[in-house]
């Protein structure tokens, strides 16, 4: 510590140590809050149409267009270390091959940012202003975890590797989420309870059958699960 340069080096060296320790504590602090998300998802309307994967394709595939209702309470996922929560809905149906795994395809997703990460959202200036204003003066905003979507159109139409999708049985919609923290590990929808982190309550729709091709028919009313 005898000269300016040595002092600067020593102070910076210990500063990095302090940064690392504080970051570790922040990551660990995630465990001090309970996570008890719940959601209900139900199918509103399904139709299967034939289409091409891209404009010049000669192959025709079947695509399912799904409309759904979604009601979530993910407010317990928002703490000071939450940067954003990625919510997505997938459709799952049994594989008709002998493979052990079901087919699963994402039909809709969204990103919910914390107020501390609003500036990272890729949206226009007007929407950004509104978003920032919605959480003015708040460092966290758990109310953003409450989604209530009615008759929501899927973002992505889905098909299967075989190209055949009509009249598939036992299709269920599932809600998933990722919590992306500022410091620490990305966490996925837990499949088992882990301390205070509970599995998603609900979040699975009743099984439904995809309709036959080109017949635009309304699914019989399905109760929410």
């Amino acid at each position: 510590m005898h000269s300016t340069l040595v002092r600067a080096q020593n102070v910076f060296g210990f500063f990095t140590t302090v940064c690392f320790v504080v970051a570790g504590l922040i990551a660990l602090s995630d465990f001090s809050w309970e996570r008890k998300p719940s959601s209900t998802v139900s199918v509103k309307d399904v139709q299967v149409v034939r289409g091409r994967p891209h404009y010049y394709s000669t192959k025709k595939e079947e695509y399912a267009h799904i409309r759904f209702n979604l009601n979530t309470d993910l407010s317990s996922l928002f703490t000071w270390n939450t940067k954003q929560v990625f919510v997505y809905v997938s459709a799952t149906w049994p594989s008709n091959s002998t493979g052990p795994r079901d087919n699963e395809a994402v039909i809709w997703d969204t990103i919910i940012t914390s107020p501390s990460a609003d500036h990272l959202q890729n949206i226009g200036p007007a929407a950004m202003k509104k978003l920032v204003k919605s959480a003015k003066g708040k460092s966290i905003d758990p109310s953003r975890g409450k989604l209530n979507l009615k008759n929501q159109k899927a973002k992505y139409q889905i098909t299967s590797p075989t190209g055949k999708l009509a009249e598939t049985d036992d299709v269920v919609l599932k809600v998933h989420y990722n919590v992306q923290p500022w410091v620490g590990m990305l966490t996925w929808t837990p499949q088992v309870d882990f301390g205070g982190w509970k599995t998603m309550k609900g979040g699975v729709s009743k099984a439904f059958t995809l309709p036959a091709l080109k017949k635009k028919k309304e699914e019989p009313k399905k109760a929410t699960s």
């Binding site: 510590m1 300016t4 102070v11 302090v18 940064c19 602090s29």
Partner: protein, 103 residues
């Protein structure tokens, strides 16, 4: 004249401090940074505000740099008093280089 000026600038840039000052600076740096880290975590945790925690941490580190790095007079209060070389009367050190005594 120019040599003296350069010497002065070099001394200022090097910023030597005495031994007691070195001990004090070391302890001060460790204590300040630890306290700043603790405060930034505690404030962020209880106010649930990670940006605040970040800025407290960075601000505190900048303050620590400002307090510890420059050779403040407080680090030079006990300069080492070297003993006189035995046999030499003058203030000069009496070092002999090439047969000549330089003062």
């Amino acid at each position: 004249m120019a040599d003296q000026l350069i010497e002065k600038v070099r001394d200022a840039a090097e910023g030597q401090i005495d031994f007691e000052g070195q001990r004090f600076a070391e302890r001060l740096a460790t204590a300040l940074l630890s306290i700043v880290g603790f405060i930034s975590f505690a404030v962020g945790f209880f106010l649930q505000d990670i940006k605040l925690a970040l800025f407290i941490g960075l601000g505190g580190a900048a303050l620590t740099f400002l307090v510890v790095v420059p050779p403040w007079p407080v680090y030079n209060q006990k300069p080492v008093h070297w003993l006189q070389v035995p046999g030499s009367q003058s203030a000069g050190q009496g070092i002999i280089v090439d047969g000549k005594v330089i003062s």
